[in-house]
């Protein structure tokens, strides 16, 4: 299996994860959120994210848009990691020494 094939399979599996996550497993109730709620502790965000809770403001609960956001950002994560990897990799000149 070449790298291209491995990457394509990985991206397809990722997209399946996103679809499952957006359709069937989207409800998130973290353990400490539950504990905090019992005590009236609230989040105190210092930053307003553009897509809170993986949803586009105004389109909350729209599975299609949430899935598209998930897929786009999965590809963004891939590209960012690939780029950082390229920046950090051993330079050919250094390797041949």
């Amino acid at each position: 299996m070449k790298y291209g094939k491995l990457t394509i399979i990985g991206i397809i599996i990722s997209i399946i994860f996103v679809i499952i996550g957006c359709i069937w497993l989207s409800l998130s109730v973290e353990t400490f959120d539950e504990i905090a709620e019992n005590f009236g502790v609230k989040e105190n965000p210092i930053w307003n994210p553009p897509l809170p809770d993986y949803e586009l403001p105004g389109f909350e609960g729209n599975v299609l848009i949430n899935t598209i956001i998930g897929i786009v950002f999965t590809i963004v994560v891939f590209i960012v990691t690939y780029s950082i990897g390229n920046l950090l990799k051993i330079k050919e000149s250094k390797k041949s020494k």
Binding site: S28, I35, E43, D53
Partner: protein, 231 residues
Amino acid sequence: MHIPDGFLDLWVCLTMYIITTIFWIFSFRKTKEILEEKHIPLMATLTAMFFAAQMMNFPIIGGTTAHLLGGPIIGITLGPYLGLISMTIILLIQALFFGDGGLTTFGANVWNMGIIGVFIPYIICLAIVRIGKNTKSLLIGAFLGALIGDVLAAIFAGIELGISVLSFPYSIQIAVTAMATHHFFIGIGEGIITMIILSILMRSRPDLLELPKAAPYWLGEFPKILISKGR
């Protein structure tokens, strides 16, 4: 397991940032020494895959949910330092774009999921592989490493919340017990997923498991004997 802003006391946030920064420095240094062209597609693919996997929230107990971390498989295949970099990318994008995990608590979240959730599985897997010296030991090590890594990451999150007496008025014992119990179940799932991905890599691309791993020098080399046996 993403702790939001406002749940941890300032001193806890600062302490976790300092500890995590030390690990970041070592990670980037070590990565620059060993990262080859061959590592990059696997690193990028696994990072993207577990960013997506973290979107799946599995119901556990008491009406709560938990998600896979992804750190164990990235740590075991590429080494914990590369695993830390991958998890940092995931957590940073989640915090900046989705508000999943806070920015003041970013150091703590990286410590829990990117350091404990990566280094512990690697160390456990390495120890078991050194004892067994075969592919079965790799899979058992991966399962146990992932399970224990997830539970320990949850325990650390519970400790951070428990010692944040000003922000989170809950005793450390209750916070730790709740986190550990709930994440034991997701740890089993993480262990199974880690074993499945490793099995696929052993069959299709064993050479990727032989790549140099970005790990601390004191841990020594990951035995290569098992890959040739796995073919």
